[in-house]
Symmetry: C2
Subunit: 346 residues, 2 copies
């Protein structure tokens, strides 16, 4: 069994990572079509040591594709993903366009693989900050129901895209040379600074990123009432998102038990020996596949509290890897057909 695969948004940070992950994991692709906006069409990327030309994304460019990964932003997904799905292409969408749609599964394969069963050829991959959070929370939730979560994030600029990496690089040089740093991508300087603004702000005062973390976590974990609050902050780090997580459980949960549970959880790696300064941090987590957890300790401010520190590569498990794992899971579980029917109402 092999699939005619397309990557939409192939020249973006996540698109390039998708191509790399597909190669590295020897995904059963009989062909790989690279699609992007007309600005990027004509550029070439190396796939398995061969130059492949990027084609312009049009409705026709998706013809004859079994499986399309969308990583070009919500606008592109809104316009092209339902078109592709209706033509019979299985779409795995990295954008937030359809994540909260009731007929669209939102899946982290280690957490809720069975939600894939009922798909209608359109599946969403969650937000980067959400993926690493549920990877750490779900194994604990399985043995001890969670009552409340407070999470503060430390998110790298690669979550915004290639232009943001250039901006952090350029501004850092400017500051080090004593020059003024001019913001383009972000509203304010990001070099040697922090910005508590990710995505737009909603009427309730939360940023959309913070609100996504709440809503997507509830959907993935099948806990529609889960009490969760988030503060999302952009930090001057290139790759790797970090999260300070404070969890309240229904029953006692010792750091030792949590460490044991998490070390057995697939895709999770415990790095936790603060006495020798062993804990995860983005510089070394960048380029790895796992979700790293450290700083496990009793949160002494509630009866059954636990504090932890969660770090993952936002381009890998937070984006490209999770999308590819969704496809692998569909194949492995023989869920490719889904439940049939139109993916979404127009």
């Amino acid at each position: 069994m092999a699939f005619r695969v397309a990557v939409v948004g192939a020249t973006g940070l996540v698109g390039k990572e998708l191509v790399k992950v597909l190669e590295k994991r020897r995904f059963p692709a009989s062909s790989l079509r690279l699609l992007a906006s007309d600005r990027s069409a004509g550029r070439t990327l190396f796939v398995n040591h061969q130059e492949v030309e990027v084609q312009e994304l049009t409705p026709k460019s998706l013809d004859g594709i079994d499986l399309a990964f969308f990583a070009a932003g919500a606008d592109v997904s809104l316009r092209y993903a339902p078109v592709a799905a209706r033509k019979g292409t299985l779409v795995i969408d990295k954008s937030d366009a359809f994540r909260m749609h009731p007929r669209v599964p939102l899946v982290v394969p280690e957490v809720n693989p069975f939600d894939l069963r009922e798909h209608r050829r359109l599946i969403s991959s969650p937000n980067c900050a959400t993926i690493q959070l549920v990877m750490a929370l779900n194994p604990l939730q399985q043995v001890n129901p969670i009552r409340r979560v407070v999470v503060s994030t430390y998110q790298s600029v690669s979550g915004t895209g290639a232009a943001a990496i250039q901006e952090l690089t350029a501004q850092s040089k400017q500051v080090l040379e004593g020059k003024n740093a001019i913001p383009h991508v972000y509203k304010h300087q990001i070099a040697f600074n922090l910005l508590p603004e990710i995505d737009v702000f909603l009427d309730n005062g939360y940023s959309k990123e913070e609100w996504k973390t709440v809503q997507e976590t509830r959907k993935i974990m099948h806990l529609p009432e889960l009490a969760l609050s988030a503060t999302c902050v952009r930090v001057p780090v290139f790759i790797g998102h970090s999260e300070a997580v404070h969890v309240e459980f229904s029953r006692p949960m010792s750091p030792e038990e949590a460490r044991r549970i998490l070390s057995q959880a697939p895709g999770v790696k415990v790095q936790d020996d603060p006495g020798v300064s062993l804990y995860p941090y983005p510089w070394t987590v960048a380029g790895t596949d796992e979700v790293f957890v450290g700083r496990l300790r009793q949160d002494l401010s509630v009866p059954y509290g636990l504090a932890l520190w969660v770090v993952a590569d936002n381009l890998r498990k937070g984006a490209a890897l999770n999308a590819v794992q969704i496809a692998e899971e569909l194949i492995k579980r023989d869920f490719l057909k889904g439940s049939g029917g139109e993916p979404i109402d127009e």
Copy 2:
């Protein structure tokens, strides 16, 4: 009334800031003696446009001093502060050496000025992360008792000292030039990275910085049982600490009410209009005296919750300014004599 003043640790980041703050606020000093370790003795600093030579700190160097600011670390304070206090010098100590001592007031003048009344010539100024937290929490606590606080910090390298500023500068250049960054001051690279390690780790899994935040907040706010949990993280920012704070109150507290209360609180400035990207961030807060609060919103994960974002210059209000304000408060309230008696038992 004028005082013979000494600054111990005058060549450090906080010591230099102390000299600047004393000058700027026209502190009533009849003389200013600059003291430091033998390594720094002989160097000169400008005070009111005049060169002043730094003298070596010895027990004798504190003779004839009415008021001494200690900003040279806990070891120096442990050794010299009680000596000075016993000789009759009024000591305001920036280190953590005596902060939790029952006979030593731990004061943020806007929060607990009356604790200054019973001093025994030794007064502690709190940790930087604690000062800005209680500045934001106390005005709210006055009208609506706080039930629980979860705080995650984003702390700049200037909290560590001048060597850490050099390290962030040097490592950032190395990374931008594609070279390896070698850690000296911190256990791991800090440039374009985050480290969830500030001060040593305790047996309960918290770092000492996290635990200080809990204990000092309780002491300053006179809430010995306050439920508070903290995660303290070092970020690649030069000056200015930021905090994501999630508070649970006893009764409803709307963001509007909190905004009104905090805009009237002395030393606090509300900067909160996310729709136009107005919120505080360290790059512009550096060099200012106030504690800035923004991102006020309902924390919807608890009945009476509020989330906020607090930023302050850790060298100013977080250190030098607060120490000078303590001295000003003692003068203003005529608390200079204190309660008499030995400052601490040996």
